[in-house]
Amino acid sequence: MREILNQLYEIDQKSKKNNLTLFDRNMKRIFHEIEHMGFYTKNPLGEKFSEERTDIDATIMGKTNSQMKIVKVLKPIIYKKEADQAIIVQKGVVIVE
């Protein structure tokens, strides 16, 4: 499932970059079904970075400071919900600046 979600994430990102809206509904529907199976993804782009975040594997650009943000997401964070408790099954792979 993780690899399927990663591929879907890439398709979604590429479609957005190329302004392809043709498959938007289908993508939304696929994500909806996957959510029903207990999995969901999160794109942390633009979020604040802190060393305490363990939901991402970060590569840090430049000098570290308290204002660092996630500037690129190479893999999304994948959660799985089990008995009301979400668990991270894949950390996001990101670049922080």
């Binding site: 890439e10 590429k14 970059k17 509904r25 939304k28 529907r29 909806h32 802190s50 060393e51 305490e52 975040r53 363990t54 939901d55 594997d57 970060a58 590569t59 840090i60 650009m61 430049g62 000098k63 570290t64 500037v71 690129k72 190479l74 964070i77 959660y79 008995a83 009301d84 408790q85 979400a86 668990i87 991270i88 099954v89 894949q90 950390k91 792979v93 670049i95 600046e97």
Partner: protein, 829 residues
């Protein structure tokens, strides 16, 4: 007799912990991120200590305070100077941090006092003792060491259940992420010894990623970027393309994995800073060419071992492949081809050493005498109330993405604390205690954020633990506007021939809210026809009857509105949003017709369909009449039912007298009264329905249990356990539809268990033999004859098929019993 059971692969780059009990092994995953391995890295950041992948992330940024590969320095007098602490720290202490972190992976609640830790076969006595000391510093009372090649062979031998009668020699070829080792092993009747070993501590899979960038990507990128000597620039301290390099490293690693499975792969490069969006194809052949010299280098080590020991390849029975890099097909082919020895790839290459250590531990007798009475069970407190030294304060509800957890500590304690979020997305690391604790923690939006707090003494033994901290983000917050009631959609309940409510948003959710629902059409509506689908948004208890709630948004789509026929079973997408001022936006998209309908409802405008209202009252009056017949003894109840019925009939008359053009508020008054009456009816019957459903549920559970006892089957047992896993929540929900859904699941499981044994079809066959009104009696007679013959010959699979075919020949009305007849339903399911 107790065994040690826990094995640890304390690696140069990555470590792992596994357990073996009664021959069954289990590799523990990091609760933070669910990875099996932990990076062997420690970072000291101010008063905080980070261990693992998080620490390794910071290596390039803060090399003076982040330490890796310290295994290479074990047993030396070398010390690492920690800039932020202004003190020296030994490789033993660093290894102890990794071992302590691995102990946190154990989620089974067991305390681990002894472990087997693996060491390279090249480790001398001092290095071995240093590893042992690290184990003791990590809190193990006893540490046993095991050489890594032996561990890998143990994993291999146990997994394949190998028994040896004669002496054999194996090579263990271990090509990991950062190091390469090859060892010669002698095995005799399950005893193993390392005879020799060779290796390169600076050769691993990571080097391959850089080769892909340097040799395959850079030539193409230089053209695109109009640059020369790009590789040198990548390696320069002030690299202007740092971001691109980091991304390429990630892409190269992914491509390397892809090429183990496919002949070619594409690397997408997305570098908006220079307007580069391109895709570079690399083939397995190109990759293999890059890889060849490195593999030859490793093979030379293996040949050297053979030569040093005066052996030729026929003396070696097999080469056991370990380490992530051995997943590459080319590595496997080359090793086999050039050594001329069969290779074995049956063990999990990344976990083999840890698993082998666990196998060894599973047979190693514990030397610790357990004395229950002497054990201090108060060491770890599972609840905060049993010891008053610590008091924890936090907001249970928050609309912010950060919240404060404060811990008041009465005495002055030297030690550390650590707060982790249970989804694995937040970890403070070990923070030195300086009086009371005030810590802001990150929250995940819209979730219940569960945290665990641990307080450690100076030796990092847990002295307090609290895993009951829960902060609701975006829920039940007094600052946000709350929904006073459930907001539901009315949908068809085909099975019970009625409609029911399905919650879209639950009571007490914070506005604004948005949701997409996918439904399917429960009936066909032809273009231009009078049939319609009804989207009825209802405010009211989702367990109640639809007509007992307040309709706050209503859309009808009839055949006249359609550009194409709406076929039964096709998808209907509903996007429903409620703003903070309670406007309701509904967008409906009919997939089959590719048509979109949008409507915004404001709470001040009520949409009421008189025909729908009349129908709802009619349905309830009929239901009351059925109840009246069923409860002829209970006079109090009868009187209550009668009163509701009479009032509803009066309202029906009142509604029928209203002119279609009526503009007064009369129909709204009727609607209010109708809802009040139906709610009273609902109250009277709901409890009864629930009890019946719960009784049916319990009966079904017993039925399945009985069948599972008769036909033991792990697969069905697991399905049954899955169904029962949230039993309590479902039974206590008071929602009959949830309970009925569970009953359906049990029915389906029962059918599967029943159908899995062909002999079970004898009973139904005997029953179908008695049926006399088949739709095609001649064919049925033929089938019955066939069935009898099969029964005599004990061909039960034939009996099964005969039963299925006879069922298809049953009279039509019997098959139609459950079909949906009422035409005036929503058309959604």
């Amino acid at each position: 007799m107790n065994t040690i059971n826990f094995g640890i692969d304390l690696g140069t780059t990555n470590s792992l912990i596994a357990k073996c009990n009664d021959g069954v092994h289990q590799v523990f995953k990091n609760p933070l991120g669910q990875k099996e391995t932990l990076a062997s890295a420690v970072a000291f950041r101010g008063n905080r200590i980070l261990v693992g992948d998080k620490a390794r992330d910071l290596l390039e940024k803060d090399p003076l305070n982040v330490f890796t590969s310290f295994k290479r320095k074990m047993g030396t007098t070398d010390r690492y100077f920690v800039e932020s602490l202004q003190k020296n720290i030994s490789p033993i202490e660093l290894s102890a941090y990794v071992l302590k972190e691995l102990k946190n992976f154990i989620h089974t609640g067991e305390t681990i006092e002894e472990a087997v830790i693996t060491i390279p076969s090249s480790f001398d006595t001092i290095q071995s003792n240093a590893t042992k000391t690290a184990g003791e510093e990590a809190g193990f009372k006893n540490v046993f060491l095991l050489q890594e090649p032996i561990a890998a062979s143990l994993a291999f031998a146990n997994q394949n259940n190998i028994t040896l009668d004669t002496q054999k020699k194996w090579l263990i070829y271990d090509f990991g992420g950062g190091t390469f080792d090859v060892a010669l092993l002698q095995i005799n009747e399950r005893e193993m010894n390392v005879l020799d070993n060779e290796g390169d501590n600076f050769l691993g899979g990571m080097d391959l990623d850089n080769l892909i960038i340097e040799k395959l990507l850079i030539p193409k990128l230089e053209l695109l970027l109009n640059e020369t000597k790009l590789w040198d620039k990548f390696k320069a301290p002030e690299n202007p393309y740092q971001k691109l390099y980091f991304e390429l490293l990630f892409r190269a690693e992914e491509a390397k994995k892809e090429l183990s499975r496919f002949e070619s792969t594409e690397i997408d490069i997305d570098y908006p800073e220079k307007d580069i969006y391109t895709s570079i194809e690399i083939t397995r052949a190109q990759f293999n060419t890059l890889l060849a010299p490195l593999v030859t280098h490793t093979i030379d080590f293996a040949k050297k071992i053979l030569a040093n020991n005066g052996l030729d390849n026929t003396a070696i029975e097999k080469v056991i492949m370990v380490g992530g890099t051995t997943l590459i097909p080319f590595v496997r082919q080359e090793v086999e081809k050039h050594l001329g020895i069969p290779i074995d790839t049956s063990v999990d290459p990344t976990a083999a050493v840890g698993i082998g250590a666990a196998y060894y531990a599973g047979n190693k007798t514990s030397t610790i005498v357990k004395n229950e009475e002497n054990e201090n069970k108060d060491d770890i407190l599972s609840t905060p109330t049993t010891k008053k030294t610590f008091e924890v304060f936090y907001q249970k509800n928050s609309k912010d993405l950060e919240e404060l957890i404060a811990i008041a500590i009465e005495e002055n304690i030297e030690g550390y604390y650590r707060i982790t979020r249970k989804d694995g997305g937040f970890d403070t690391g070990l923070i030195a205690l300086e009086g009371s604790i005030n810590k802001f923690v990150d929250l995940v939006a819209g979730e219940v954020n569960a945290f665990e707090l641990k307080i450690f003494d100076r030796n990092q033994s847990v002295i307090y633990s609290n895993d009951t901290i829960k902060i609701h983000q975006g829920k039940y917050n007094i600052q946000g506007q709350l929904l006073p009631n459930d907001i539901c959609l009315e949908i068809d309940d085909i099975q019970y021939n009625t409609t029911r409510l399905e919650a879209i948003f639950k009571k007490n959710s914070v506005l604004p809210l948005k949701k997409t629902l996918y439904k399917s059409a429960s009936k066909t509506i032809l273009k231009g026809d009078t049939g319609k689908i009804q989207i009825n948004i209802v405010e009211g208890d989702d367990n109640g009857l639809p007509s007992s709630g307040l309709s706050i948004g209503y859309i009808e789509i009839s055949g006249a509105d359609l550009q194409q026929d709406l076929i039964k079973g096709t998808d209907i997408e509903l996007n429903i949003a409620i703003s903070e001022s309670r406007d309701i936006d509904v967008t409906i998209f009919l997939n089959a017709c590719e048509q979109e309908f949008t409507n915004t409802f404001k709470p001040t405008e009520r949409y009421i369909s008189t025909s729908k209202m009349a129908n709802e009252m009619n349905v309830v009056v009929q239901q009351i009449e059925t109840e009246l017949q069923k409860n002829s003894e209970d006079y109090t109840l009868l009187a209550k039912f009668n009163k509701i019925r009479e009032s509803l009939i009066e309202l029906q008359i009142e509604l029928s007298l209203l002119a279609d053009t009526d503009v007064t508020d009369a129909k709204f008054k009727i609607d209010n009264q109708k809802r009040a009456l139906i709610q009273s009816f609902d109250q009277l019957t709901r409890h009864k329905d629930l009890n019946t459903d719960i009784a049916t549920y319990n009966l079904k559970v017993e039925e399945v249990k009985f069948h599972l006892n008769e036909h033991k089957n792990e697969f069905y047992q697991a399905q049954f356990n899955q169904i029962l896993s949230n039993e309590r929540a479902v039974l206590n929900s008071g929602n009959k539809y949830l309970i009925r859904a569970k009953i359906e699941e049990l029915n389906a499981l029962n059918n599967s268990i029943f159908s899995s044994n062909d002999a079970n079809f004898i009973g139904p066959f005997l029953h179908y033999k008695m049926v006399e009104d088949y739709s095609d009696q001649r064919k049925a007679d033929q089938l019955i004859k066939e069935g009898e013959k099969a029964l005599q010959n004990q061909q039960y699979n034939v009996v099964k098929h005969v039963v299925y075919q006879l069922a298809a020949l049953l009279p039509q009305e019997r098959k139609d019993e459950n079909q949906f007849r009422n035409e005036d339903k929503t058309g959604l399911r």
